[in-house]
């Protein structure tokens, strides 16, 4: 199948531009913006043509990446201006497991617990009520038994995953991040 260079460049440009603006771009938005430019007889053929064009773009441009969210939506971003970490947070923004995922990632990777307040800021942007609601649901259900919380001496809640951190370490690090760091400048 032949793709015009122009089409490939236009799609690639759109992905890069949206990443530059701090957004990942869903497949659907790309198709909506460009689908009508693809003059072919049937819509069905048009879709498969478009899919193949995207595959070609992924193959030819090392910076262009695709992420598929739990609900099946595919997103595209360019690693020239967006990290995998950031893109994966954006792609999971509407997953009800996002908070648990982030807690587990932090516990495993750094390793450290995270303050509840992390989820109030960009790029999460949840309200305190939304976070507490999600936690309530999580704490009572299967699949989240490893997500635990500890409260620091100034009353702030930190979350961690017991798969990766033991309780003593989580308590110590939460206290350090919340109070120790500022007291030991």
């Amino acid at each position: 199948m032949n793709f015009s260079e122009n089409l490939l460049a236009t799609i690639t440009g759109m992905i890069r531009e949206s990443s530059e603006a701090g957004l990942i771009i869903p497949h659907e938005d790309l198709f909506e913006a460009l689908g009508q430019d693809i003059i072919l007889e049937s819509d069905c053929y048009k879709i498969s043509f478009f899919e193949k064009a995207l595959d070609k773009i992924l193959e030819k441009n090392a910076d262009i990446n695709k992420l598929t969210a739990k609900n099946g939506v595919s997103y595209y971003y360019s690693s020239l201006s967006m990290s995998d970490t950031y893109a994966s947070i954006l792609a999971r923004k509407h997953d009800d497991t996002l908070i648990a995922d982030i807690v587990r990632e932090n516990s495993q990777l750094y390793p450290r617990p995270v303050p509840l307040s992390l989820f109030e800021h960009s790029p999460f942007g949840f309200t305190r009520e939304q976070i507490l609601d999600q936690l309530k649901r999580m704490f009572g259900s299967d699949g989240f038994q490893d997500i635990l919380q500890t409260t620091t001496s100034s009353g702030n809640i930190f979350l961690y995953s017991s798969r990766f951190l033991d309780h003593a370490y989580a308590i110590k690090m939460a206290e350090w991040i919340d109070i120790g760091e500022a007291n030991n400048p």
Binding site: S19, G22, S81, M82, S83, D84, T85, Y86, I89, L109, Y110, P111, R112, L118, H121, S122, P123, S154, D166, H167, A168, Y169, A170, I171, K172, M173, W176, I177, G180, E181, A182, N183, N184, P185
Partner: protein, 701 residues
């Protein structure tokens, strides 16, 4: 003598007793000591006899800057002030304080690498240094005035570009807990009273000169830009504190800029935005230490960052809090960083609206306004910890007597009212009563005065007290044995940031460990914080490297609150920085090419001279048991967990003995005493030290 760049080549010598001012060649005498603390230690070794007290006229106070001060090298605005330390207990020993601001650069532009001051003027004076000339001027009209008015008056005489380093009433009144300050908030703790003892109110410097860069101009610019590309936020934190579109990692760091976080009190509110590390024009937006220390609320009061010459980090955040001028009668603008910013707040246990509410910010504003005008030092927060402990334990009430106790409004204090600070801080500067006189002496002398054994403080982790009148400064709580070793070595709080800047940089542990292999030879050099492994030789190497880099920075005049730059925000470099950026800049600036190893040897000479001064003035070579001591609290974990268990910061006594052995061994020092051996002095070009110790019985094999 070769025509070096970097240094301006002249050192100013001022004898205040007879008014003699002379100039000597910096390089002839001090080139092997680079500048800064290096010059300071050398002058104290050569000119201040053992047994001298800090306020004796023969004591020297040395304002030393290095070959990078005043150049375009990033973060170069540091002045090291070395003298006999008045709060070092039970005996004053050598130490140095470090101030940023514009003083270092201006001193070079005025034609000097250092000022050596001694003697005592017979009436208050200030030192005017203007384009290669110095003059002692009458300061009787300034005596009794605060630092702000003094600086303004001298600037009025010298011109608005002058940099003025002044003491306040605390220094004048020989309060050991006193500072000298330049550029509004850049202070060096502990030395104000030494200036006061010499009747020296201030030093004003102004110059129109420049600093010659010996190397090729393009190469120099390339080196400066390369160094800038390695910078993180303050404390060389290399990842942002929240997920950002360009960033692979995030963590609890001082890189607090983010889209939507705004300098709310700037003339038109400014979004700090996404600070991609490749955009060098946005470095100054990364750090906001008011927001880091005081919380989200501080953003709306932020005007911008301020800082030292040639430093894009601007870690002294300027705050504008209009309510404080009507409520407390103080200026609505204040600026500072770290403990300077928290000075007022840290006296209180709680505030009516919580630890990060409005009242806490007001307490910071009142504290900064008073302390930075009266010129009070807080010994890295120890003064406030002592105060809280003494009050809440009832000791304070018992010691000051009921009349004095009742003269303070303790209700106001317990309610967290910043009004309480006015009487207390003015009292400290004026030595007004027993409480304030005692607090102003520094912890060691204060405890002695009130009959409290030092060991009582050394058992309490929450007091953070280490030894000899001073607190811990990045010790076992965050850096295990490495932190312990570093904290044993100085005669004040250690002020070393080489290790902590790396450990707290925000990168995942596995990335840090990869960098550790390059620098110290093994992933085992570092552990996760509070999950420590037993001592190993790589931790000893890290301790040695950390101390030598601190001395190097303090001698070149670059900021150890930023360096070293072994990690960077650059993913394409696997977050590695460069361990030899100092030697690159030094070599180009001076035209005296030195490798990283050669510069490390210079720093070792400087640090070992500090050790020799300590040995000479303590009159013992037994550093191991008489000097390099640790407080008992390091062996206890607050949650009762044993050493080497996850979540425990407790150290093990035998392991710490091993740590000291390994460190002494890395340094080439005697294991039994912890003193450098004669051959170590010789190897470092310190034959004169070896000779003196040979004569007076302090030499070690």
């Amino acid at each position: 003598m070769a025509n070096y760049g970097g240094w301006v080549g002249k050192t100013l010598r001022v004898d205040l007793s007879n008014g003699n001012i002379s100039i000597e060649n910096t390089l002839e005498k001090y080139k092997d000591y680079l500048g800064g603390t290096g010059i300071g230690y050398k002058v104290l070794w050569d000119e201040v006899p053992a047994g001298t007290q800090p306020f004796d006229p023969v004591n020297r106070i040395v304002f030393g800057v290095g070959p990078l001060a005043g150049t375009g090298a990033p973060c170069n605005g540091r002045t090291a002030i070395t003298t006999l330390w008045p709060t070092c207990w039970p005996k004053s020993l050598v130490a140095s304080g470090h101030m940023g601001g514009n003083f270092a650069a201006e001193l070079k532009y005025a034609g000097f690498d250092a000022i050596i001051i001694y003697g005592k003027a017979d009436q208050p004076v200030w030192l005017c240094i203007l384009d290669g000339k110095a003059e002692i001027r009458d300061a009787r009209n300034l005596w009794g005035e605060g630092i702000r008015r003094t600086s303004m008056e001298i600037s009025r005489q010298m011109g608005p570009r002058a940099s003025v380093a002044a003491i306040g009433q605390a220094g004048e009144n020989l309060v050991p807990m006193s500072v000298v300050i330049n550029s509004h908030s850049h202070s060096a703790g502990g030395v104000g009273s030494v200036m006061g003892s010499k009747n020296l109110k201030a030093i004003g410097v102004l110059g129109t000169g420049s600093i010659r860069i010996a190397g090729n101009k393009e190469e120099w610019e390339k080196a400066v830009n390369y160094h800038l590309s390695l910078l993180g936020a303050n404390n060389q934190h290399v990842v942002p504190d929240s997920p950002q579109k360009w960033s692979e990692y995030y963590g609890p760091t001082r890189w607090v800029a983010s889209p939507g976080r705004r300098w709310g009190a700037a003339s038109s509110s400014i979004d700090t935005g996404s600070c991609d590390p490749h955009n060098l024009n946005r470095i100054a937006y990364r750090t906001n230490n008011a927001a880091f220390f005081l919380g989200e609320r501080a953003w709306k009061y932020t005007v911008r960052g301020n800082g030292c010459s040639s430093c894009p980090i601007r870690c002294h955040t300027i705050l504008k809090v209009p309510s404080v001028s009507s409520k407390y009668g103080i200026p609505e603008i204040g600026q500072n960083t770290c403990v300077g910013m928290l000075f007022g707040r840290n006296f209180f246990r709680s505030f009516p609206d919580g630890p990060k509410g409005e009242t806490s910010i007001e307490a910071c504003m009142v504290g900064m306004s008073l302390a930075d005008d009266l010129g009070i030092w807080d010994n890295y927060g120890q003064m406030q910890r002592d105060f809280q402990e003494l009050y809440y334990s009832g000791i304070l009430k018992e010691k000051v007597g009921s009349k004095e106790f009742k003269s303070y409004s303790w209700d106001e204090y317990e309610k967290g009212s910043p009004n309480f600070l006015f009487k207390l801080l003015r009292g400290i500067a004026l030595k007004r009563d027993e409480l304030t006189t005692a607090l102003g002496m520094g912890t060691g002398y204060h405890l002695e005065r009130w009959g409290i054994p030092e060991k009582d403080w050394q058992e309490r982790p929450e007091l953070s007290y280490w030894k000899m009148g001073h607190p811990r400064h990045h010790s076992s709580e965050e850096a295990g044995q490495t932190g312990v070793i570093i904290n044993t070595q100085y005669n004040r709080d250690s002020q070393c940031h080489s290790h902590t800047n790396f450990i707290r940089n925000g990168l995942p542990l596995h990335v840090q460990k990869q960098i550790a292999v390059d620098i110290w030879g093994s992933t085992d050099a570092i552990d996760a914080m509070s999950a420590y492994s037993p001592m190993n030789v790589y931790k000893a190497k890290m301790a040695k490297w950390s101390i030598l880099r601190k001395e190097l920075h303090d001698s070149l005049s670059i900021c150890n609150w930023m360096g070293p730059w072994i990690a960077s925000p650059l993913k394409e470099h696997n977050y590695k920085g460069d361990d030899s950026v100092e030697s690159l800049l030094y070599s180009l600036a001076t035209g005296n090419p030195k490798s990283r190893e050669e510069l490390d040897k210079d720093s070792e000479r400087i640090f070992v001279l500090h050790r020799a001064l300590t040995i000479r003035d303590m009159q013992t070579s037994d550093m191991r048991t008489k000097h390099d001591t640790v407080p008992k609290w390091i062996f206890k974990d607050q949650a009762g967990k044993p050493p080497f268990s996850s979540g425990s910061s407790a150290m093990d006594p035998d392991d710490i003995k091993l740590a000291m052995d390994m460190f002494y061994s890395e340094m080439g020092w005697d294991l039994e005493t912890g003193a450098p051996r004669t051959e170590t002095y010789q190897k470092l070009g310190l034959q004169d030290v070896a000779d003196v110790f040979d004569r007076n019985g302090l030499a070690v094999g």
